[in-house]
């Protein structure tokens, strides 16, 4: 009897831990590889002396554009996040608080959702053409504009969800004290939902930081090339340097890990834009 109970408990746990290993070990593996020399990767001894050579090569070699790519990625992701939160914050509040004629708010939200559905490549093509006619190919400006546009839907939906949950009593009190609606938005509503707004900002930043397709189309030189395109370039060189690639993948992912710790509770909600998910 006791044996049967143990078995009943043991089997699910074993399955779970095997799945857990499959899900989490690949990343550990790539991190370990990033500290190996080329020789160690090929000979694959179990014990190896960790080396920082791959990282040093990435960052401090004269010919390496890696720091430059990283800076580009940071600028593009950060600036688009600032624009998105500014614009989406204002409009999400507006949509949440006012009564529109002819269901204009529904149309607006519907269009915003439509943007999210569309293939990125379907927007990338006309943007490429626009960039070309405005002489903006290979610039960070067009990347920022593009990321702001494609990621704004996500922010609007999330922030609107937060504003909808906010009790109006606070705002009414502020109105009575003679606050303007901008004042209420800025001094009352935004501070109350600030943790949600920060989570939204982090998720939007992650979207920009990870974007690849549009950057691949638009960027050509280190002037605007982002980390994703730079790393993809490493993969396509004739001599594949696994150590360097593993180091690049690690460096690229670490900030995302750190940030995601802060937004963990919002991840499920964020990825479905708050539709149908209760807290």
């Amino acid at each position: 009897m006791t044996r049967r109970i143990n078995l009943k408990k043991l089997v699910p746990s074993t399955i779970f831990f095997i799945l857990l290993a499959i899900l989490s070990l690949p990343f550990v593996y790539i991190m370990m590889t990033s500290f190996k020399t080329h020789l160690d990767i090929m000979l694959r001894p179990i014990l190896f002396t960790p080396t920082l050579k791959n990282y040093v090569d990435l960052f401090f070699t004269q010919t390496s554009n890696f720091p430059r790519y990283m800076l580009n990625s940071l600028i593009v992701a950060l600036l688009s996040t600032v624009f998105i939160i500014g614009i989406a914050g204002l409009s999400a509040y507006g949509i949440s608080r006012s009564e529109f004629v002819w269901h204009l708010d529904k149309i607006l939200l519907g269009w915003v959702l439509f943007l999210r559905m569309v293939f990125p490549v379907a927007f990338a093509l006309p943007f490429y053409k626009i960039a070309q006619s405005l002489n903006l190919l290979d610039t960070k400006i067009i990347l920022i504009v593009f990321y702001t546009t494609i990621n704004i839907p996500f922010a609007v939906w999330m922030l609107k969800g937060f504003f909808d949950q906010l009790p109006r009593a606070y705002e009414e009190a502020a109105f009575i004290d003679g606050c303007s609606i901008f004042g209420v938005f800025w001094r009352v509503a935004m501070p109350i939902i600030s943790s949600g707004a920060v989570a939204t900002a982090i998720l939007v930043f992650m979207l920009g930081w990870n974007e690849f397709l549009f950057a691949l189309i638009i960027t050509e030189s280190s002037r605007s090339m982002t980390l994703t395109v730079g790393i993809a370039g490493l993969c396509q060189q004739y001599m594949v340097e696994w150590g360097k690639m593993a180091a690049a993948a690690t460096i690229f992912t670490i900030p995302i890990f750190v940030l995601s710790v802060f937004v963990q509770d919002y991840l499920g909600k964020g990825l479905t834009m708050g539709i149908g998910i209760k807290e």
């Binding site: 409009s91 949509i95 379907a122 993969c235 995302i256």
Partner: protein, 286 residues
């Protein structure tokens, strides 16, 4: 009353920046996409209206049809796999393993698609990849996972399932843990087996959440590009070339932006119809 209208005008004005952005950066590009679809746009030469030429080209383009079929296969198998594993995992974890262990499950979802591509390319490597090493230890001859046309698509699908199972898991787990406990206790008292409870309670109660999870997963899965680009670049001999990769190649390798735009437009049309019908279904269910 005057105060109120004043307020609603202000809130309306607050949405103006969004409206302006949408008009300039999404409606204009979309119109431009439609215009491009019916022209031949060649870099350096500009527009030339060609009428329905792209439509005929599409009808005769076997490679495009193949890649569309492949996209459906890719999405269907990936999402089904993610659902089965994610649901199983959520049932195993329900009410147990709090904290760090749960976070470990969602790691793949947090790794950028580009990095996922690199990780798996390294693991799939026929010579120094860990998968073939492990297989060799237990006496199985490993394969050239990404270069063998017969299995390359399946190798890519496994990566997709690996990355996005946590998403289904996370949402279903939240759903499972919010189900009313009384139902389960009642079922237990009435002597229902765990399989019966699962089929008659869990699945029906969970169906709205399952539908939402599958909806978002399918929508995002159609957009796949980054991972496959790093893993195989669409090769070997086009067996992993899904539609977004084909559109990229047509537009920027063969320099046929007009035709690329037409293919993109078709896919957008399809996605919109799919999503609208799904949302209609969703509204009835929830």
């Amino acid at each position: 009353m005057r105060e109120l209208t004043h307020r609603s005008i202000t809130t309306f004005l607050m949405t103006l920046p969004l409206v302006i952005i949408l008009v300039f950066f999404s409606i204009y590009p979309f119109v431009s996409l439609i215009k491009m679809s019916f022209s031949s746009f060649i870099v350096g030469k500009g527009y030339e209206y060609v009428g329905l030429k792209n439509v005929w080209r599409f009808i005769e383009d076997q490679r495009a049809w193949e890649s569309i079929g492949r996209t459906f296969l890719y999405v269907f198998v990936s999402v089904s796999g993610e659902f089965v594993v994610g649901l199983g995992l959520a049932l195993l974890v329900k009410g147990k393993f709090k904290g760090v262990i749960r976070t470990m499950v969602i790691i793949p979802m947090l790794v950028a698609p580009i990095a996922v591509g690199i990780i798996w390319r390294l693991m799939y490597d026929p010579v120094f990849g860990i998968i073939n090493q492990i297989l060799a230890k237990i006496g199985i001859q490993g394969k050239n996972w990404l270069a063998d046309p017969q299995i390359a698509l399946w190798s890519v699908i496994i990566v997709e399932i690996w990355q996005w199972t946590p998403f289904i898991f996370l949402i279903l787990l939240a759903g499972l843990e919010s189900l009313p406990k009384e139902c389960y206790e009642g079922a237990k008292i009435d002597g229902a087996s765990s399989w019966q409870t699962f089929v008659y309670f869990t699945i029906p109660l969970m169906s709205p959440i399952i539908i939402v999870a599958l909806f978002f997963r399918t929508m995002e899965c159609f957009k796949a590009f980054d991972k496959i680009w790093i893993l195989t670049g669409g090769g070997p001999s086009d067996v992993t070339e899904i539609i977004s990769i084909y559109i990229y190649r047509v537009s920027f390798r063969h320099n046929l932006l007009g035709y690329g735009a037409f293919l993109a437009l078709i896919m957008v049309g399809f996605i919109v119809i799919y999503n609208l019908s799904y949302m209609g279904f969703l509204r009835r269910k929830i």
